[in-house]
């Protein structure tokens, strides 16, 4: 089976980006919206076809899903062995990501035609959306680490452009800078990791790297060499994970994600909830055989970072009032979940449950979180505010948003029968079998998630009905249709048999709901929902009283544990004041002064000798003839005497 047509999945958004970008002030908004959405629509259909052929027709050989190279060109030949390729790699996770990215992206495109209606930068917005889709699709199908790194940076750029979409707003500009610099800093680790890994293995290629027959990779690594007690391959993979942690907003590189909510809401749904932020998870999953077989230490790091981020973000989310920020912290928490699941996984068969669960949760989370964000966008569109204090009683004004948001809320809380329930249960089951501490953290996070999401839900749609300046109204069809479609996905994505399709070694295994875990956790989630119901369903003073009684703790959490302040302190006070200032002094007073000195000397010298060049031919003649006389006398003296 020839999969070359998959090139079009990636190529179409890029062409659309060029068209919209170059003709952005020639095209009408309507046409731009149609071009953007329809090209993504075609990509989506092609992805569906690819997924069908891959999963059900040609992907499986001898009972295991194979990696298929659909397209490959050598781009840079560095040495005989080491070369950077550009290509398309199809395997279960990349095909799954193609589906997730194109689905969410298509929904967001359609939604944006309504949400961004009348904005002056409408065409620019769609051009950037296409650029993002292109980059993200290029990232997921990368055949080698370096191609992934290139597209990794491209998604960073498109994220930067889209967060800073409202570039008149200083806060948006600051947020886009913060996001870019933070992720760029993390990518430094990624790059060093790539270089370390490729230096010792001599390849960037995923085919080579993820070969699992025997520990070939470990052989090529200098076995005895270690640094701070970890082998080189562990260090390389930890550094690569650092890039993933930056992109996926894992503690302590998470600071950009809440601020990234300055971007338009569809962007938050697409980039900062469903696709780009899970790139880190995808990266670890892509290199999973290397992690699990060669560097279990690095995988332990992944696990703890994921578990800690999940808990950390869930706690903060309970106190925030900006609905998009609550969702941002929720995203961070859920991604922590996925990382945790990868961290507790082993390789092959039922041992690889964590890997499957992580990918499963990635998919279901993409659906319900995109839905939550788009629903939030619909609410913000109606209320013109981000703060849940300005909302309440919206149920009767926005029925479709209410129902679809409600489905997403139940899905993320793990309500039985909805998608989140299944994927979360798999993660918990995997954690339970591997590490009890992580398991209890995950259970706690599940309870917290149910609480803060219910708090959000009840505050928006129930609670005290606010006095609105103008009556909120339901959003137009272009916005509600994607909501409905995503609600359907969010409901039924849990029934996809992931254990048959996406497993750590490509071979299906038997997995079933572990009721011994599912029932207590679901009860805990119900407890969280009930607590939120008691606090927020009817206007109540209880939350304020509790917050007041825990003043110090509450403020600390509300201020996000002062992590931003710590960063500011380190960068402004230490880096800028001490390091940068002294370097700047050196630059101004030593390097610049040296250069200025050269210039001054040259200038002075030329001032003093410029009189010689008077332009008076007679003076030149005089000099010339004097010279002739001098030489003549010398010659006469030499030859005659």
């Amino acid at each position: 089976m020839d999969f070359t047509y998959t090139l079009a999945i990636i190529g179409l958004p890029f062409i659309t980006f060029l068209i919209l970008g170059l003709l952005h002030n020639k095209l009408s908004h309507k046409l731009a919206g149609i071009i953007g959405s329809s090209s993504l629509g075609i990509s989506f259909i092609l992805s569906c076809i690819t997924a069908y052929f891959y999963f059900f027709k040609y992907g499986k050989i001898d009972g295991a899903y194979q990696k298929i190279e659909a397209f490959n060109i050598t781009w840079l030949q560095l040495t005989d062995q080491l070369h950077i390729d550009m290509g398309i790699l199809l395997d279960p996770i990349s095909v799954m990501m193609l589906m997730v990215v194109t689905t969410v992206s298509l929904m967001v495109h359609i939604y944006s035609t309504g949400y961004m209606h009348g904005e002056t930068g409408f065409n620019r917005f769609f051009a950037f959306l296409s650029l993002f889709s292109f980059s993200m699709l290029g990232l997921v199908v990368a055949t080698n680490l370096f191609q992934m790194y290139i597209f990794w940076e491209l998604v960073g750029v498109s994220s930067f452009l889209l967060i800073g979409y409202y570039y008149e707003k200083p806060s948006a500009v600051a947020a886009s800078k913060k996001a870019f610099i933070t992720t760029r800093f993390a990518d430094l680790g990624f790059l060093i990791g790539i270089l370390l890994l490729s230096f010792y293995t001599g390849t960037f290629d995923f085919f080579e790297l993820t070969k699992t027959n025997g520990h070939e990779l470990a052989m090529t690594m200098p076995a005895g060499t270690s640094f701070l007690g970890l082998s080189i391959v562990s260090w390389a993979l930890i550094l690569i994970f650092m890039g993933g942690a930056g992109k996926s907003a894992m503690f302590p590189l998470h600071i950009w994600l809440p601020d990234a909510m300055e971007g338009p809401t569809p962007v938050s749904a697409l980039i900062h909830a469903a696709t780009m932020v899970v790139a880190g998870v995808y990266l670890v999953a892509r290199l999973f055989p290397v992690y699990v077989l060669e560097a279990p230490d690095a995988l332990t790091v992944v696990m703890w970072v994921g578990a800690f981020s999940a808990l950390f973000a869930a706690i903060i989310a309970c106190t925030q009032f900006d609905i998009k920020r609550v969702l941002a912290f929720s995203t961070m928490s859920q991604i922590g979940y996925m990382m945790l699941a990868l961290g507790v996984s082993h390789y092959g068969d039922h041992e690889g449950l964590g890997f499957m669960a992580s990918m499963f949760h990635l998919t279901t989370h993409a659906m319900f979180k995109a839905l939550l964000f788009l629903g939030a966008g619909s609410i913000i569109h109606a209320v013109h505010s981000n703060s849940m204090l300005d909302m309440g009683g919206l149920k009767k004004y926005m029925p479709i948003t209410f129902i679809t948001f409600g489905i997403a809320w139940l899905a993320i809380c793990g309500f039985p029968g909805l998608s989140g329930f299944f994927s979360k249960d798999e993660i918990l089951a995997a954690a339970y079998h591997h590490n009890k501490v992580v398991f209890y953290i995950a259970v706690l996070v599940a309870g917290l998630t149910a609480f803060y999401m219910s708090r959000l839900f009840f505050s928006i749609f129930f609670g005290k009905t606010q006095h609105y300046h103008h009556t909120p109204h339901e959003s137009p069809a272009s916005m509600t249709i994607p909501l409905i479609i995503l609600a359907i996905f969010a409901t039924f994505a849990g029934y996809i048999p992931f254990h048959d399709l996406i497993t750590s070694d490509g071979r299906p295994f038997e997995a079933h709901i572990d009721w011994a875990i599912a029932i207590p956790v679901t009860l805990l989630a119900f407890g969280g929902m009930a607590l939120a119901f008691a606090f927020y369903f009817k206007p109540s003073t209880m939350p304020d009283k509790i917050a007041a009684s825990l003043k110090g703790v509450y403020t600390t959490i509300y201020r996000k544990f002062y992590i931003d302040e710590v960063y500011l302190f380190v960068t402004q006070k230490i880096l800028f004041n001490i390091v940068s200032q002294s370097i700047a002094w050196f630059d101004r007073h030593i390097i610049d002064a040296t250069m200025d000195g050269f210039a001054t000397v040259t200038n002075y010298a030329s001032e003093s000798i410029k009189e010689l060049q008077s332009g008076q031919i007679q003076k030149y003649g005089f000099v010339f003839i004097s010279g002739v006389f001098v030489f003549a006398f010398i010659l006469i003296y030499v030859f005659v005497y």
Binding site: S614, G615, Q616, Q618, F622
Partner: protein, 105 residues
């Protein structure tokens, strides 16, 4: 051969003419005088060609031919130089070279 006049005498005359020309070229500030000094130099060279040809290689004609060329070039040069001098005068109302310094530096 010119009776009673040795080649040395003629060469002394031409050398004197040459250095008078050089001196005039260097010290004069009037463009016309400078031009005249240049003519002196040229004529001195011309005399040298003729004399050396006559006294040393009497049976060839190159020296004479060269002096004819030099006279022709001197005429053309004088025409061009005077044209320039007239233009300089029109522009600056002077033909003193020290006052003509717009293209200095």
């Amino acid at each position: 051969m010119i009776e009673g006049i040795d080649i040395t005498h003629i060469l002394i005359v031409s050398t004197c003419m040459f250095f008078i020309g050089v001196y005039g070229f260097l010290v004069r500030r009037n463009l016309i005088t400078i031009l005249m000094a240049t003519e002196l130099i040229l004529n001195a060279v011309s005399i040298n060609f003729v004399v050396l040809n006559k006294f040393i290689y009497p049976d060839v004609l190159q020296g004479y031919m060269f002096s004819v060329f030099i006279i022709a070039i001197a005429a053309a040069e004088a025409a061009v130089a005077i044209a320039i001098i007239i233009n300089v005068y029109r522009r600056y109302r002077t033909i003193n070279v020290e006052n003509v310094h717009d293209m200095k530096y």
